[in-house]
Symmetry: D3
Subunit: 323 residues, 6 copies
C-alpha cells in the first residue's frame, strides 16, 4: 500500500492511503437501491472521483465539503478516468497534526504578497481617474480576492487563482508595453485588474477557493455585464470622466473577443486587443503546464476539453537538454 | 412634368418637380475634377439619392441637412437603383406655405398621443419596483422620445419610430398575455418599454428623426449595454429590489437572442423569450408592409437586405379578394 | 410509502405506489446475463424510466405498450435523472375502477371541442379556394386528429397535442391580425391549420397519443414534404387555383425558416413569416410553462435540450405578487 | 479590325466586327441623362456586356432578346471584365445568309440525338413502376427538353444543356454501376433523369436556351419541390407503387445533399448518394473545362464564383505531353 | 447453442461458441474492485466488445492482441449495442487446425494480386517524371502495403484495405477519364496512388491490418503533410521536374477538399477535384454496402457516425427484383 | 499648392505636388474609349490610387513599377477613398537629387542591423540540431531577407518587413519566456525565425519590398507547406534528429491555428501555441498603430478589413496625458 501518496501519482490498480480535501459530496442511490456517497477529493496535485458504497446516515452526517479526510482505497477506472473505491475513511483529527493549507490546491505565491504586488502596479497608473476607480474596486474586493479562484473548473481553479491570474497578466502587460511603446499603460493595467473582477459576484466560492455553483445574477447576466455594472456605479460615486468609464467598460466588454464567447463588441482600442491576448495566453499556459506535468516524454496527453479537445505532446529532447 | 409627385411614385425616365427634405448632403469632386453635391432626399413616402452636378460655393452654403427644398429633375438609374439628376433646386420659402411635418417620414400616430398611450400601459404595471423604474426612465427620456426613430436606416427609421415600435409591441404583448396566461405582464411591459430605450444614447438624431451617426459611447458599448447601465444607475437611485433589477437587465441583455447579434445570454425567463419575438415580428412586419406597398401583384420585390436578402412576393388574389 | 403519488412529485429516495401507463417497454439483458424489462411510464404529470429486474417470460407477456399498471418502487437516480426501481407491478384490473384517460398526458381542452373550434376558424376563411382545400384536408384527417400529439418527445407530445397546438396558434393569429391589419387572414389561418398536418403521416401514434416511431415515408421525406404532397393531390382533386396552391405549399415549405431545420426556402410573404413565429412561440411557451412548473422560486431548471440547452430561472417575486 | 471574331478571342483594345445574339437588353439612363441600351451579347464561345450609348426610340424598338445582330465596336474593360463599346449595330438580315444556330451557345451533341440516347437508357430500367413514371415524365417534357439549358447562368447554361447534363450523368452512372455492383441501376437511372426535370418549370427559357427569369412558382418552391410535386401527381395517375414513389422523391429531395443548398434530407440510400456526386462532378467538370480553355499554360484563371471563388491552374506539362 | 457462428449473425440473447481474433484487449477494474478483461473481438464479418469478468493474472498473460481464441458466451446489449459476456475462453491450438486468415476481416481480393494490378496502372502513366516518382514510392512501400488498412476504424479498416481502396479508385478513375476526356490520366492515376500512401507512416498497424494507435509524427503532422514530405524527398532524389512535384503535392494537399477536414488548399486542377470525389465515393460506398448488408428490407439501419449520423434505408423492392 | 507633401497628409480637394514611387501600373481603356494609366503610388507614409487620363504610347513606355516620379495633381474621392487626378507627371531625374530609399515604405530599423540582431538570437539556441537547421535556412535566405516584406498588402507590407516582423516577435518571445519559464527557448526562437520564411518563395517581391504577385508554387501549396518542404530537405542534408524536424514542422503547420486559416493541425506543444499568439499580436499591433496615426482624437477610423472590419477609436485622454 502506498501511504501519503499524492493524487497526481495514482495509477490504475494502486492500493493507497492518504489525506485529501472533500471538494464536493452527494448522496446517491445505487441500482441495487442502497445509498452511497459520491465524493470529489482534491489535494495540491489533482482531483479524483471517489465512491463510498453502502453508506449510512452516520457517514452522511460525518462528512461535508471542505473537510480534510483520511482515505484508504483502490484506484480503478471508469470510462477512461481513474476513480477511487473507498475502503476506509475518517475525518482528520487533531492528532493527525495537519495544516489544511498543505492540501488545498493553490497558487504558487501567497495571496497577501500577490495582493501587495498588484497594489504596486496600481500605483504606476498615473491617470487620476483610472487610478481611482481601479484602486477603489480592487481594495473594496480585498476580502474575497484572498481566496477566490479564477474559474469553477477550468484554468486557475485554485485558491488565490484570480489574484495569480491578474498578477501574471500584469507582468506580461508590463513587458509588452516595452515592445509596443504606443500602448497606454494606464488603460492596460486598469483593464487587466478589472477584467475578471466580477467573477467574485458571478461564482460562489468557499474559503478554500472551491466553487460550488454560480450565483443567480451570475447566470442571468455573467461576469462581463456584472463588471460593467460595477464600473458604472463606482464611476458615478467617484465622478469619473465619462470617456474613461466607457473605455474601461469597453475593455471588459470586448475581452472575450468573439460574440459567441460573450463579447458583443470586438476590441476597438489596441489596449483592449492586447488585454484579450494576455488573458488567453495566461489561461492556455496554465492548462498546458499542468497537463504536461503529468505526461510522459514522447507521449501524448489525454484530450483536453479546454484546449479544443487537443492532445498535447511532450517532446523527449527537453529532458536531455535540461541535464 | 409630374409636379408634387411623391418619391414612392418615381419611375425611370420621369421628369419631376416637388418638395423634399435633405436627409444628408456631401460635397464631392467628380472624375472631371468639379464639385458636386450628393444629396439624399426624403419625403413621407421614401428616399432617393440626388446629384447636383457642377455645384458652386454658393450652393454648398445654401443647403443643409433637415431643410426643405424644391427640386426639379430627371429620374435615372444607377446600379439598379433610381437616382435623381437635379436640374433646378431652391430652398423652400414662406410663400410656398408649407408645413415641414407633411414631408417628414413619420409614424402613423402622433408622438404626443403615443406617449400618453404608453403611460397608460405603465399604469397597468402593478409591481411597485418595476413600475417605478420604468416610469422614471420613460419620463426622463420624454424629450428625445418625441422624435427619435428606432434605427438609423432599417425598420422604423422614421420620426417617432421608437415610440411607435414600443407601442405596437405593447399592444401585441397585451394580446399574447391573454393566450399565454402564465406570463407576467409587469415584467413583459417593462421589458418592452426599456428594451431599446438606450437607442436615445446610441444614436444622434435631429428633430426630424434623422440619424446622422452613432455616438462614441454607442459604438464602444452599444444600446444593449448602455440600457443595462441606465437601469443600474436608476435602480441605485430608486433603491430597487435587486432581483427586479437583474431581471430587467437580463431581458435587455437577451433580447437580440443570438450572441452574434449582440446578446451574450439567451432568454432564461419566458417574458424575455416573448420580448425577443415581439421585437422581431414588429420589425419584420414594418419592413414587409413597406416593401409590398411598392410591389406589383404577382410580382417580386427587390432583394431586401434586412430580410436576409429575400425577395417578397405579392399574391394577385388579394386584390380580387378586397373588392 | 407515498400512494397515489404523481410522477412530477417523485423525489430521490421516495418509496412510492401508484398507477401509470406504459409508454414503451423493451426486454433487455443485464451485465449479469439476466433479463429485465426497461419501461417508460407516464401519467398526466410526467414521465419516468423504470426497471423491472430479473423479469421472466411471464412478465414479458403480461405487459404491453399503452396498458395501465399498478407499480410499487423506489425512486433512485441515474446520470442525473430520476429512475424507478420496480419492487412490485401488476396490470390494472376492473376492481381498480379506473379510467385510463385520467392517466394519459393530454391537452387541457377536449379534442372534440377543439376540433369544433377549429372548424369555426375555417368558416371564417372567405376565400373559396383556401376554404375548400383546408376544410377538405382537415375533415379528412379527423380520425387521427382526435388523438395525435404534435411531436414524438418535444413540445405538445400529449394526447390531442396537435389539435391544441393548431388551436392556440389560431387564437394568436387572430389577435396578430388585429395589430398588423395588412395580413391576409385566409392565408394565415389556412397555413396554421395545414402547417403540421402531415405529422399524421410522419409519425405512428397509438390512440393514447404516444408515438413509438416515425414511418418510413416520414424518415425519407419528412412532414414538410409530405404536407406539400398532400396539398398537391387535394388541389388537383378540388381544381384549386394554381397560385393559392403554391402559396399554401410555400407556407408549409418555409415554416421552419432555416434550411438546417428543414425549410429550403425562407418566407416570401408576410403570412408565412408570421406562421413561423406563431409556431415557435407556441412550442417555446409550452416547454417553458411545463419546465417552470417543476422549478422552485429563485431556482434554475435543468438544462432543457429543446431550448438550446438553456436553464430557465423562476423569479421569486411572482409568488409575492400573486397573493 | 478583326472581323468575324469570336467572343472568346476578344482582347482589351481590339476593334472588332461580327455577328452575335442578344441574350438580354435593358434601356437605361446615363448620368448625363441620355438613354443607352445595355446589351448582353453571346455567341457559341462566350458572353460579353455591350453598351450602345445615346440610343433613341428607334434603336429601342429595332432590337429584342434572341435576335441576331451585326456589331462593330471597341473592346474596353470595366471592373476587371471586358466590355464592348458599340460603334455600329444593325439586325442581321436575309442577305447575311446566316443560320442562328451557328451563334447559339449549345451542347456538343444534337438535342434530338441526345433525347433518343436517353430513351435507350430508359429502356434499360427493368422495374416496371420506375420505368413507367420516368418514361411518362420524360416524354411529356419532350418539347421543352429540346432547348432548355440546365441553369440560368452557371454550368450548362447552353441550348440543350439540360439534356446534355442528364446524358453525361447517365453515362457515368452506367460506369459506376460496373464498379459498385450492389447499386440498383433502375433507381439510379430514374433519379438521374428526374433530378432536375422541374427546372423546366422553375425557369423561363426561350427557344435559344436563354433564361430570362425564374417563374413565380420557381421562386416560391424551387425545382426540388416542384419535381416532387410532379412525381406525386404522375404516380397518382399511373398508380405507382408507394415505396417507389417515395424513393424517387427522396432522391430528388436529397440530391443537393446539404440543407443550406436546398436538401432538407441527406441521402439515405446509396443510389441517392451517388446521384449527388454524379451531379456535382458533371457541373464541376463542365465549369473547369470551359475555364481552362481560356487559361494559358502555367497561368491561373480568374476567380470562379461557382467554384468557391477558386482560381484554376493550367499546368504547362500537358502541352508537351500531347505532342 | 450456435457453434461456429459469425459475428454479423449474433442476435440479442444468443448463446454462442466460435473462433475469433483479439483486435484489442485491456485489463480493467470493475466497480466491485475485481479485474476483468475488456476485449474487442473480430472475425471476417464484424466486431464485438466482449467482457471476461473476474479475470486473473493467468488470463491476462495467456491472451494478447492478434491471437485467435475460442470463445463461448452470451450475447447481451449495452447502450444499444450488442456485447458478449464470455463464459469460457481459450487460445486456439494446433488441434483446432485453423488458418488465421479465415478470421481476419480483409479485402475481397488478395493483396498480392491487387499489388500487381496497381503496377499495371502505373505502367500506363506515360509521363516519365510522374511514372518514376509514383513507381518509386509504391514499390518502396510494398512490405507495409501487403497488410495495411486504409483507416483505424472507419471505411476500409480491413487487412489490405489501403490497396483495395487505391485499386477501386483507379478503376473508377479510368472510367471517368473516358467520359471527361480532357482529364490527364497521368496526374490522376498518380494522385490516386499517392493520396493516402503516408497512412503507412501515420498509423501503426500489425500484420493483421489492425491499427492500435497513431504514430507521434502522424499526430503532429498527419498523413497529408507526411505524404507531401515523402514526395519532397523522393523528388529531390529522382531529380523530378519542379512543376510535376508541386502538382502531385497539391493533389495530396487538397484531396480532403475542406480546410476543416485537413486541406488548407482546395483543388485548383480538375484532376485534384476528381481525386477528391473518387475518394469520398469509395469510402461512402464501402460503408453503405456494409451497413445495408445487416439491414432488413423496408428497415432503417442504426445511425452511422461516418455518414453524418444518417440512418440508411433498405428498400423492399430490390428483393423482388432480384428474383 | 502643397509641394513636397506626404501621402498621409492628403486631404480631399488638395492641389498637390511631390515625389512618389510607382507601386503598380496598368494601362486601361475608359468608357469613352481612350487609354489611361491606373497607378498605385506610395511614399514612406502611405499609398494612393492615381489616374493619368488620356495617356499615350509615350507615357506608357516612360513609366514602370518601382520608379520614382514627380507628380502634380488634385485629390478627389472615389467610393469613400481618396484618389489622385494627375495633372502633370514626369520621371525623377538626377537633378532632383533624390535617394529612392527616402520614398520607400520601410521598416523602422535597417535590414542589415536587424539581420545581425536575429543572428544574435540564433546564437542563443543551444540545442545543436535546432541551431543548425535554423542557422542554415536563415543564412541561405539572406539575400531576399534584405528587402522582402512580410505580406503583399496586409501588415508589414514594407521593405524589410519580414525581418522586422521576425525580430519583434523574437523580442516578445524572449520576454514571455521570463514569465512562462517552462517554455523551451530553443524551439520557440526556432519557430519564430522559420514560421514565415517560405514567404520568400510564396511571393515575388522586387527590391523595394513591393510584391506584385504570388508564385505558382505559392498559390498551389502556400507558405506553410513550402516552409515544411524546406525543413524536410534541409533536415535531410544536415541529418537532423527526426523529432526536432517534426516539432519544427509542426510549429509551422499550426501557426495559423484555425483550419480555415491554413493550419490543418492546432498547436500540440506550448511553444507552438505561443508562436501563434506572437504572430497575431505583432500583426495586429502593426495595423493598429498605423491606423491610429491617421485617426483624430475622439474619432473613429474607417473600417479596417484586416481587423474583421472593425473601426478603431482614438481616445482623447491620451493626448492630455502626454503633455
Amino acid at each position: 500500500m502506498n501511504t501519503n501518496i499524492r493524487i497526481s501519482d495514482f495509477k490504475l490498480g494502486d492500493f493507497i492511503e492518504g489525506f485529501f480535501i472533500i471538494k464536493s459530496m452527494n448522496i446517491k442511490t445505487s441500482s441495487n437501491n442502497k445509498n452511497f456517497i459520491d465524493f470529489n477529493l482534491v489535494d495540491k496535485t489533482g482531483e479524483i472521483n471517489a465512491k463510498l458504497w453502502d453508506s449510512n446516515k452516520d457517514d452522511e452526517k460525518k462528512y461535508s465539503e471542505g473537510k480534510l479526510v483520511k482515505v484508504r482505497g483502490n484506484v480503478s477506472e471508469w470510462q477512461g478516468k481513474l476513480q477511487l473505491k473507498i475502503i476506509k475513511i475518517r475525518p482528520a483529527n487533531d492528532e493527525d497534526n495537519l495544516v489544511i493549507d498543505d492540501y488545498v490546491p493553490s497558487a504558487p505565491e501567497k495571496t497577501e504578497i500577490m495582493y501587495e504586488k498588484i497594489l504596486d502596479y496600481i500605483r504606476e497608473i498615473n491617470n487620476k481617474d483610472i487610478h481611482n476607480i481601479v484602486s477603489y474596486i480592487f481594495k473594496e474586493s480585498k476580502e474575497k480576492l484572498m481566496f477566490y479562484p479564477a474559474a469553477k473548473s477550468n484554468h486557475h481553479a485554485i485558491l488565490g487563482g484570480l489574484l495569480y491570474h491578474i498578477l501574471t497578466m500584469l507582468r506580461t502587460a508590463e513587458k509588452l508595453c516595452e515592445i509596443y511603446t504606443f500602448l497606454d499603460k494606464n488603460l492596460l493595467f486598469g483593464g487587466v485588474i478589472l477584467h475578471d473582477i466580477a467573477k467574485l459576484e458571478e461564482m460562489d466560492s468557499n474559503e478554500l477557493g472551491i466553487v460550488s455553483s454560480y450565483t443567480s445574477e451570475g447566470e442571468l447576466l455573467g461576469h462581463i455585464i456584472q463588471g460593467i455594472n460595477k464600473i458604472e456605479k463606482v464611476s458615478e460615486k467617484l465622478n469619473t470622466d465619462k470617456e474613461i468609464t466607457t473605455l474601461l467598460q469597453h475593455m471588459i466588454l470586448s475581452h472575450h473577443y468573439e460574440p459567441e464567447f460573450g463579447s458583443p463588441k470586438r476590441p476597438m482600442i489596441p489596449e483592449a486587443e492586447i488585454l484579450h491576448y494576455l488573458d488567453v495566453i495566461d489561461a492556455r499556459m496554465f492548462d498546458m503546464k499542468r497537463t504536461l506535468e503529468s505526461t510522459k516524454p514522447k507521449g501524448f496527453s489525454d484530450k483536453i476539453w479546454t484546449l479544443h479537445n487537443r492532445r498535447l505532446y511532450k517532446p523527449s529532447y527537453q529532458n536531455l537538454n535540461e541535464e
